[in-house]
Subunit: 334 residues, 2 copies
């Protein structure tokens, strides 16, 4: 039963039912008696205004889109949950899409999302910047904020950490612990975030008087197999880097696996530090030192920027602080 049928049944106008059921009874000064009658009947027959009709009329659906590269990555699933939680009270639903770290899929999904009448869109890009992606994002007909991995040259509200700074943070911790030969395991080498983190590492080395050319780099993808392969590559180098940074959250699993397979022990044979805190980071043997992104505050800022109230959007990139979480996977060397 829809609200017009209910109205008919009650012998009142649809508009009256609509007003009561969408909580505008006071605004239109519907009599208390009518309100009661309508509400009671609505409850009895389980009548709720159809969001589709309302959406069409209002030009809004009460739903935002969230596009992430990989929902199985704890960083993104935690982020997704945080964002959904923040919208729940507002009565706004979140439609989640997963681009599976694939740029083509990402564009396709983005275009689809853009064509639905959403109230807004939060996009955490795969990280490979294409013109098509840039133009889709910057021509969005709805409020849009970019999360985590930014699109250089696109003027759109965004929130992320300073990846260069974070790279330096990681490298400096290793350098301060006496490590001179560093290695990096990339997630996606074409992702801007990885490139920036790498840049940070190299800068830190330079500032410490280390030659960035001595930095060993491996890694070309997020899958388990690729991580393992690249990590093995890194660990079988001779000399082996004594301090390794996993630029992605999943990479560390590859490093751990490779390390075990090679019979190496952390931090005796090498130190390691990983981007992104994971539920199990502290429970590994040894507990893993991580660069932690403030997920909650990223979610908060993204939601704020999405700015559903329609206030002017600032396009200053919102930058949040990444922090170093010291654990036992990094040891000092002389």
């Amino acid at each position: 039963m829809n609200i017009s049928e209910l109205a008919q049944h009650l012998g009142v106008a649809v508009s009256t039912v609509s007003r009561v059921l969408s909580g505008n009874a006071d605004k239109y000064r519907i009599s208390e008696k009518t309100v009661q009658r309508v509400q009671k009947a609505a409850e009895k027959y389980r009548v709720v205004p159809d969001p589709l009709g309302a959406g069409l009329r209002k030009g809004k659906l009460g739903m935002i889109g969230l596009l992430v590269p990989d929902i199985t990555n704890p960083f993104f699933s935690t982020l997704a949950r945080a964002i959904e939680l923040r919208f729940r009270d507002t009565g706004i639903a979140v439609q989640l899409c997963d681009s599976a770290e694939d740029p083509a899929t990402e564009i396709a999904l983005l275009n689809k999302l853009l064509s639905r009448r959403l109230d807004g869109l939060i996009v955490a890009p795969v990280g490979e910047v294409s013109d098509e992606l840039k133009s889709a994002v910057s021509n969005s007909p709805m409020p849009l904020v970019v999360l985590d991995r930014l699109l250089p040259g696109v003027s759109v509200p965004s929130v992320s950490i300073d990846n260069i700074k974070a790279g330096k943070l990681a490298a400096n911790h290793l350098i301060e612990s006496g490590h001179k030969h560093l290695g990096c395991l990339r997630g996606n080498c074409r992702a801007i975030s990885d490139q920036e983190r790498l840049k940070g590492v190299e800068e830190a080395m330079r500032e410490a008087g280390l030659d960035p050319a001595t930095l060993s780099i491996a890694g070309t993808g997020y899958t388990r197999e690729l991580s393992l392969l690249s990590a093995t590559e890194l660990l079988t180098l001779s000399p082996r880097p004594s301090g390794i940074i996993s630029l992605s959250g999943q990479g560390i699993l590859g490093i751990l696996e490779a390390s075990r397979a090679s019979g190496l022990s952390i931090p005796r044979d090498f130190s390691v530090i990983a981007f992104d805190e994971q539920p199990w980071s502290a429970l590994m043997q040894p507990p893993i030192t991580t660069i932690t992104q403030p997920i909650e505050s990223m979610a908060e800022k993204a939601v704020f920027l999405l700015n559903l109230e329609g206030r002017a959007k600032e396009v200053t990139p919102e930058v949040v602080e990444a922090t170093l979480c010291r654990r036992e996977s990094v040891a000092a060397v002389n």
Copy 2:
């Protein structure tokens, strides 16, 4: 620009544009020339039929709902991704909701989902069975399938493992390894899945001539703090159970943490086996023996059962096999 504006611009009727853009040109024998003209213009002006209008008209939105208890749980995020992938080709979007393991939130979200004009709904319940939940599920106006944690007494298509059998599988492995004093860490004691797994464990004990009364049980929730507390409880029992089963995927982290805090070593001081394979299961020290659910096939069956084509739905519960993945966290005792 919408299709009527485009039609006006082109000097043709809206219906013509609609027919071309929704791929029904042949069906209505639109002339090749018109088709070309419309398609070209649509591309140029980036015109796509608004799904909202179409949805209203057709009574379908091209979207299904997916309600999970916790998207940060790798089991559910993997499942969610698998399901979304399967729908992507069909052109059907997936709207994800997270009930945060809370029965009240679950009901609220479910009702919301039910009132949106979705093409179907896949629900992985929190596991606490209430009359309200049962009635909402069984009165669904749209195709609905229940996933993972079933609702006893509700006749609705479903797919899950046989939790009793899985409980037995875990217990038998421990018993065969010589363990006589078993312990269980529950996730949510009110969840039907946990209860059934427990039942399986007790059955296995009985069959092996062990007294189920000697089974130590702890655990009341999924949070990290609760798991840690309950795990500590289990590990400080005297005598300490020599074989412990984590009935939930997250529980094992609590056990690991408690074990470390108490200075215990696995499997020297106790053996452990955990439900649900996790990305890090094999990488722990020691690698964790798990009960693995066939996520891909669960996704496949769920999608099949959702049965969007409108064929008759069978209501026979679809049961998939859980398997034991042997690793080093279980040791034989004499």
